[in-house]
Symmetry: D2
Subunit: 346 residues, 4 copies
């Protein structure tokens, strides 16, 4: 039985981790960390867990937690995990960091986009970017996993095969992303009030969103050259779900079948990436509550571009689900353990 500790258990991603780990037959939660609610019953914050979770919230004492837990999930604000990281912790436990602290290899880029000084850059190199479908083997041996961002997970998986196979010009990539509001977190802000979000859609972080360099870095590895792209997120009046609509120019004429074969090459054996049938557009509702990413594409012969689409649940494959998938890999379990639930519809 894997002993798991969560720091940041009362955020939306933390709450989803609790839900998933409760359904995981080889893991148990030993620490519900939440600085804001120390000593309060976890189930009094997340009433869905009434009579399911009896524990109270703990503080964020990572050193103590490292002694008790086989794996620590940090679902915390940027900077926290880096500020806590040290050799003692990493020698005692695995760490799966859901924040951005260890995702970007170039610390200068991290510090520029996040406007934070990195407190433990010495661990960046060691950290493995936990996009399971791409880095599966490296993950298995890691001590520190940088769990990918929600937008980067969906964006990278939607575009990766086309870049990797050199079928699109990476300099033409444009990603237009749409996210449910849980991605904005549980902080009490006027902008996230029901009446401000409901019946509304807007872009935000235009040409400046922090997930941009993360996506660029991952696609650069695939391209074998530096990639600069446009990434525009939008806030959608729904709780969960991310939809990616990405555009790029094709390097040569290709048929539907050729591109389909490319996607299948990378994903046919993947449990959690579903390449949809021809002309079926991904919808966030069809993956809600599950760890799936649905991807598809459409070739536009008029403009010689390809439109690549991806949908997933931002709290599952985009956060907690992928974290559990990483945990499974780290501990040599079946990769899909605890993640086999079908999407909920409607």
């Amino acid at each position: 039985m894997i002993k798991a500790g969560i720091i940041g258990a009362t955020g939306y991603a933390g709450g989803e981790l609790v839900r998933l780990l409760l359904g995981h037959k080889e893991a148990e939660i030993v620490w519900y960390g939440s600085r804001s609610y120390v000593d309060q019953k976890y189930a009094s914050i997340y009433q869905n867990m009434f009579q399911i979770v009896d524990a109270s919230c703990m503080d964020d004492n990572m050193e103590e937690l490292a002694k008790q837990a086989d794996v620590i999930f940090t679902a915390t604000p940027q900077g926290f995990c880096a500020s806590m990281m040290n050799e003692e912790i990493l020698s005692q436990t695995k760490v799966i960091d859901l924040s951005a602290d260890f995702r970007i290899k170039d610390v200068k880029i991290y510090e520029k986009w996040y406007n934070i000084q990195h407190q433990s850059p010495q661990y960046i190199d060691e950290a493995v970017y936990g996009l399971c479908e791409i880095n599966r083997e490296k993950i298995k041996d890691a001590r520190l996993i940088a769990n990918p961002g929600c937008y980067p997970t969906c964006s990278t998986l939607s575009i990766y095969p086309m870049v990797k196979e050199g079928l699109i010009d990476p300099s033409t990539i444009i990603i237009d992303a749409k996210s449910g509001t849980s991605g904005a977190g549980r902080g009490a802000k006027v902008d996230n009030l029901f009446c401000e979000v409901n019946e509304n859609i807007k872009a935000y972080g235009v040409a400046s969103h922090r997930h941009t360099p993360e996506i660029e870095e991952q696609l650069s590895y695939a391209a074998g050259e530096p990639v600069l792209l446009n990434f525009t997120p939008h806030l959608v009046p729904m709780n969960r779900g991310i939809l990616i609509t990405a555009y790029a120019s094709l390097k040569k004429d290709v048929t539907y079948e050729e591109v389909k074969a490319v996607y299948d090459k990378y994903y046919a054996k993947e449990r959690f990436v579903r390449v949809l049938e021809k002309d079926v557009c991904p919808q966030t509702k069809w993956v809600e509550g599950s760890n799936y990413v649905d991807v598809n594409f459409k070739i536009d012969p008029r403009t010689k571009r390809i439109i690549m689409m991806g949908a997933m649940d931002n709290l599952v494959k985009g956060a907690a689900g992928q974290a559990v998938q990483n945990m499974n890999l780290l501990f040599g379990l079946e990769e899909s353990m605890g993640l086999q639930m079908a999407p909920v519809f409607p």
Copy 2:
């Protein structure tokens, strides 16, 4: 392995049955019945099941199905199950009917409220009303289960202890119910279009909704006398969830603790009924996707009434979940098998 057949597998309740049975380790689905989509891939109708369900839709040949299945779920319009029922079917298989056909013992009341002639009244007596927390023992030996309606499940469970213990005057019961839109089914009607439901709330079926006599019958058994009550459902702009707010006059002065003890008497050992802590009001979101019913109450000393509240997911405990719970009882399995998922939030 229990072989389960579903007739009406492409309605919302049928779709939820598929989701739940896929997660049930002792059951497998052998028949995805859907008259409207015969020979079409089930996953092309419910895209969430892509790469999960490979089967195609079948017709509603119940006689053939009875030969192949250990249990048949009929998630069909009123009248269908009654029109198909015969001794041959019941001698071969168990039937769990999610329609209203066998819920009401007085066939005249059924025919009056549903405006349908009952095609097999000879089986009404035998049918067991599948409200598991109340009729658990009878269910175990039944051949034919009348799976309760969504509103009646939530209403009855919220009020039952107070009526059974004689603490309220049954002639004063008023039930004001609110339901998500999945309760209206998947039929293409203008009234259920997004733009008609969204940003809107309305009462419907006022003083005439068909679930009224079903609730009255169940509460009559508890009261030991005929009960007439008011039941008013409302359509709420959300997918899932039913909330019941019920009112009744107290027969005598009671304290919070006395009433709490009464609720605990009936529900403390129930896996799926959670009596919330003092002053916590049930919310539909806290039970979404799960088989829980959350109940609570508030005494109003000014008016000498009690306000009883209940929340559940109309597609789970209100339909498919309770049907699986009934199946578990029928086949001697652990009652919660396949129903242990925690509620999804947010």
Copy 3:
């Protein structure tokens, strides 16, 4: 041209007042009061007013405002208006208070339910309860208007004719109310975040909501005797709208036509109260953005009760619209001036 000042112009009710007064041909806004945003452009807070309102926010200096304005609207937290009120202000300007400070004649009841000490009880007697359809004549001569609460407006108008004509037993009245989330205000609270409200419904303030004594007082006047009732509000995932479903026992057998005649007696000539046709249930969407209240009823001969229903926009007839209606009455204008917009659908 009436010079109008608003204190609390950046709350949702204040924002609606701005919208309505901008469309009023005999009024102009001279003061956009908002303590939180002093000196900031009003249109930077409510971006819908970009290029429409050029003014910046002012503080809440009511004495200064009294000199500049013919009428002051206070859309402020409970207690503010009472704490500011004095003879000098009332001798210079009319005051329409959208808070509860002057709605309840018995100051002890106010202080008990609101848990505030009233700072100027000497003006309570003088204040006129601004429910225009009931108190029209008194309003015309008032200096200080207590603009009714949202729930009390809809509740009282839905029930009033039945109580006034003595057709129902006032001691049996139960009001089950449902409100859009704008009623909860624009304060940044976790409970009002999109992800907490969306796909959810709950009761709140059960047997303790502050609007209860206000409704009771108004219906007591109609009944000619003290009325105690149950009032339960619910939070609905929509921006605007209140729906009331009220229940009471009929004192004698009545026909649809008799009750219809009673409603028509009070409302047939009212511009803003629409008695719907038989069997048409009020829906909040059908009145959105307008000053209408739609009411209707259904007699249940089985239980000898009547179900009374009402729908309105909580920010218009439930707050800002009624405030403008009161202003029109105070200044001898046509009562519907600036309020003639049809409801917006969908």
Copy 4:
């Protein structure tokens, strides 16, 4: 007083026309055409108009209507208006067609994208594309107005200045559009049911949506050369609103101020196009219910692209509002008459 007839008055755009014309002081509606509801009270279909509109629905006898009306609005399916058009009608009345029949000058392109044979191509040349801000002068003298599509209105206005001034490479334009569900019309389809749209987002009509050639044609005029572009619409779970996020490569380095000056050149004097302040992203909620289009842009120096954004209410500026604006121009009225309402928030 302008006598206006509406054919298709019970669709969502038709309903919005009714709402706007009722608030127009120089127009009256003489014909509520709705083939599906002939002889039924209009207010029984659109209950918001109860006690406001007394008329019943009429058939779609355009010849008769031409005799009675000064202007006919056709809010009808593609092909209808073209099939009815003749000289007699045009000699008697003005026609504002809200369908696509006369928007595209090249009949072959129309017939290809709409898969309809055009029934009166002889009037295509004469028809004026009613995008008021661009074609104001031509509109004034027209007999037949092709009221622009919703997406083309928002897309064209958001991009036009940049193309017209030659600052972007037209071959790089990509438009990612998001629309509320009222754009899908009031037809009873499963895809538009509440439970299918709510908590969901999807792209549709990828690389094949019919509004593509309409946008291309308008931008071609501005560019002075043929423009091919990508246009991808998405369905958003909200009633109203369109948001455009468009991307294009800059032809040269430009500053914010230079681009701002270009937008101001075209829109500073426009009543209904608001160029927002720096870094303020358009939101659909800020224009809801009004005829405004809010536009803004962001330069990305990293990729040398510009992101252009626009938000409007699809039923107002995207349909009925622009139709009324066209009517005002046709009849020499103030262009904003009947369209001066401020946006409704929240």
